[in-house]
Assembly symmetry: C2
Homo-oligomer: 206 residues x 2
Amino acid sequence: MTKIKATNITWHEGHVGREERETLLEQKGALVWTTGLSGSGKSTIAYTLEHALVQRGHLAYVLDGDNIRHGLNKNLGFSAEDRTENIRRIGEVGKLFVDTGVLTVTAFISPYREDRAIARETVGEGNFFEVFCDTPLEVCEERDPKGLYKKARAGEIKGFTGIDDPYEAPEKPELVIDTSKVSPQEAAVQICEMLEKAGKISALGE
Amino acid sequence: MTKIKATNITWHEGHVGREERETLLEQKGALVWTTGLSGSGKSTIAYTLEHALVQRGHLAYVLDGDNIRHGLNKNLGFSAEDRTENIRRIGEVGKLFVDTGVLTVTAFISPYREDRAIARETVGEGNFFEVFCDTPLEVCEERDPKGLYKKARAGEIKGFTGIDDPYEAPEKPELVIDTSKVSPQEAAVQICEMLEKAGKISALGE
């Protein structure tokens, strides 16, 4: 970095650090990575959590299919190679968001263990919180919010996770939530408690 | 979005809007896109601006070669096609940052007019501030901070912007800065004034 001489303001040398932004925000950057079958409750939990965090005065942001698949990753399909690249890019964007100090929540099926491991490594241990939405397939299929299971069963969609493409369950997720038993609000509360324990946000009333 | 019934907290339906985050942050999301030759002062201006904004209590973040070319775009080279994809992805990430409410600053040569036009369209008019670092080539080459002009002149690097690859100057940039005449601090002050006038940040003392 070019040395900048002070005039009337104290100009730093070097870059603003993550810590300075975190001090400003009164929170620490983190990536809450939800994973699970289609219909397992990832998006609902993500948006409920985002609301809970914003209500508590925190800066939170959700990355999901709506803003990623139609934007950054609109040039990717659903082949194994493209799925891997999809998750790789999301991990890299997550890393930038965490460096900015944002409490970031992703909602992608992310079915492959190795892809999630790469995202974890990219974002860094201590910043990455894997939340496994472990809702039984029959419940997800019953919900079928986008009508995709019906199409997959009818053979209209090929390579659908849980039907004719594997979902590799996390081995050591930071949290497991079965949304057939736990409400989105309860899930959000559990995730907030996890973030409190990890020192990412203050406990309520502190 | 699934309807969520209130328990002890008022849970919103739908997503947290950009406006809610902007209210929280007391600023509005914007993308300051610096463009110009290698050595024209883009990075120095970007980091000086970031410091100035953080000192004023604002959340700011720089996207540059260090965090993009080694991360999100590490699978891209320097062919015309890859340069276009490089800028496309940066525009898409910029859009997400602006939606989060962050004052975002990019520092990339971004030599092609059409690529910058796509970024502007992605981020949206009113959110995109093109800052043309219009420093004369001979000054940039004299500075040669990374020794790249020397290598390009020696033929060791092919397709180097300004030497054997074109730089297409912006036609209607929001701001023009010649860093052979204007200091990084003065440049940062000019950009802050531009952001104040656009209602992205409050004027000092307000």
